[in-house]
């Protein structure tokens, strides 16, 4: 989809939304003050990533609130791409974000900034959003815009002695329209629509194409990826949440995604939430995701410059994955303690099984070697743990 066409559509949507906003009547409220401490661990595909986060939401008046969040990721290990190129990685990502919220009548205005720093990557995002309750509070409409500027580098040294080369910039603009609708006393539904346009250096410098090369022992060589320098994607998610005849909720969602690189992705998810008195909330979820490959992706090119654009990033390959997850939230301090009104602690665990349909595992299998293009398809399992404590005051 061309940028001009997207802007024309968004312009019309904005005009319709402006009409809908005529319906405002009485005041909305900001959420309670809240502090969160968060720890996460991801293990899978040869990678270990741990993350720690602290967040604070604070109301200054009945109309104005601020949120700050500090997040740090520690990455170690070696993914399948890194293994095939015989180097390991060790990195840290620090993300800081701040949000200011202002409520007037039935409208909530939000402005945010988020900055993320790795030694070979910088990302800055500024965003604005507006949320409007209307039609007797049966409908909530949200609009958001975000502008992101990334600086992309590559470490040509080692994990411990980095030598960073800066390769270029990438920029993206994201437009969101979210509609949430109360349908019955037990049912709420939502539609989320998102368009993102990107331009600049969009490739991942740590991933390589491979092409047939009879002059090498393995029968192939590795080369640099060349991506298109623009991308536009559209995603629509439909979701519904139903309060069951007993006190429990079931959620279903479907997301359809497509972009100008010919990737089409579909996501299905079902969640079940079950409280036990007012102390525990238990949740189970299942998610299935499938996508086809990008139009410039190949696991094995015939020669180095076979096409104008060439990619072998596993994110661009045809794949599906399944996630099974469970979450338990325990509420404590029911009568409060000092400045805190209540608190919760949550443990969340997910298991994800990734299956690639045209991305082959080219690690060193020893002798005899596979012929190029006959290696086993790559697959791996990942485990994600999260534990966090929330204090409300």
């Amino acid at each position: 989809m061309k940028v001009a066409a997207v802007q024309r559509i968004l312009g019309r949507v904005a005009a319709v939304v402006a009409l809908l906003l005529l319906r405002a009547t009485c005041a909305d409220v900001l959420p309670d003050d809240r502090a969160d401490l968060f720890y996460s661990k991801y293990s899978g595909g040869g990678m270990d990533i741990t993350g720690e986060s602290a967040a604070l939401n604070k109301k200054f008046t009945e109309n104005i609130a601020a949120q700050v969040n500090y997040f740090v990721d520690h990455v170690s290990g070696a993914s399948i791409d890194v293994l095939s190129q015989a180097s390991q990685i060790r990195d840290e990502r620090i993300q800081k974000s701040a949000t200011l919220e202002f409520v007037h009548d039935k409208t909530t205005y939000t402005a945010s900034y988020s900055g993320s720093v790795e030694r070979d990557y910088r990302s800055d995002t500024a965003s604005i959003a507006m949320k409007q309750d209307m039609f007797g509070d049966l409908t909530t409409l949200s609009l958001a815009f975000a502008n992101t500027v990334d600086k992309v580098g590559e470490n040509n040294g080692t994990a411990w002695v980095p030598v960073i080369s800066w390769l270029g910039h990438a920029q993206s603009r994201s437009y969101d329209i979210d509609w949430s609708q109360i349908l019955t006393k037990n049912l709420i539904a939502g539609v989320n629509f998102n368009v993102i346009t990107d331009w600049g250096y969009l490739a991942n410098p740590y991933r390589s194409i491979r092409y047939l090369d009879a002059g090498t022992p393995k029968g192939y060589s590795l080369g640099s990826q060349i991506y298109p320098d623009t991308r536009t994607s559209t995603a629509v998610q439909l979701e519904a949440k139903y309060f069951l005849p007993y006190r429990a909720a079931i959620t279903g969602s479907f997301r359809y995604f497509r972009d100008t690189w010919s990737i089409v992705g579909k996501t299905f998810e079902v969640d079940y939430t079950h409280p036990i008195s007012n102390i525990w909330i238990l949740e189970g979820r299942f998610r299935y995701y499938t996508q086809n490959n990008a139009n410039f992706y190949s696991d094995l090119f015939q020669y180095a410059d076979e096409f104008e654009f060439e990619g072998r990033d596993q994110d661009l390959a045809a794949q599906d994955n399944y996630t099974i997850g469970a979450k338990a939230t325990y509420a404590f301090l029911p009568n409060g303690w000092k400045m805190f009104k209540r608190a919760t602690v949550t443990l969340d665990a997910s298991r994800i099984a990734f299956h690639y349909k045209d991305f082959r595992n080219i690690k060193d299998f020893g002798v005899p070697q596979y012929q190029p293009g006959t290696e086993p398809l790559y697959q791996f399992n990942a485990t994600v743990y999260q534990i966090y404590m929330s204090m409300f005051f």
Binding site: S79, G136, S233, A235, R255
Partner: protein, 69 residues
């Protein structure tokens, strides 16, 4: 379409009656009916997925960074 929208919106503006009354929304107000009870956790899971899948968007913010490795 916009003209029709103006007519419908302005005509219904003054006497819109919610079909689910405020006093009937106790179940919808239960914390288990919130779309996302824990924003940081949801953002973290989105970041993991967007680093490994071609799809993105329409689920909320996924944070920054390349997720390159």
């Amino acid at each position: 379409v916009l003209l029709a929208g103006v007519v419908v919106m302005t005509a219904a503006c003054s006497n819109m009656q919610p079909w689910v009354k405020p006093y009937e929304r106790d179940k919808l107000a239960d914390p288990i009916m919130a779309w996302d009870r824990d924003a940081i956790s949801a953002e973290y899971l989105d970041h993991i997925r967007e680093s490994r899948e071609g799809s993105r968007g329409a689920t909320g913010s996924a944070g920054g960074g390349c997720g390159c490795n």
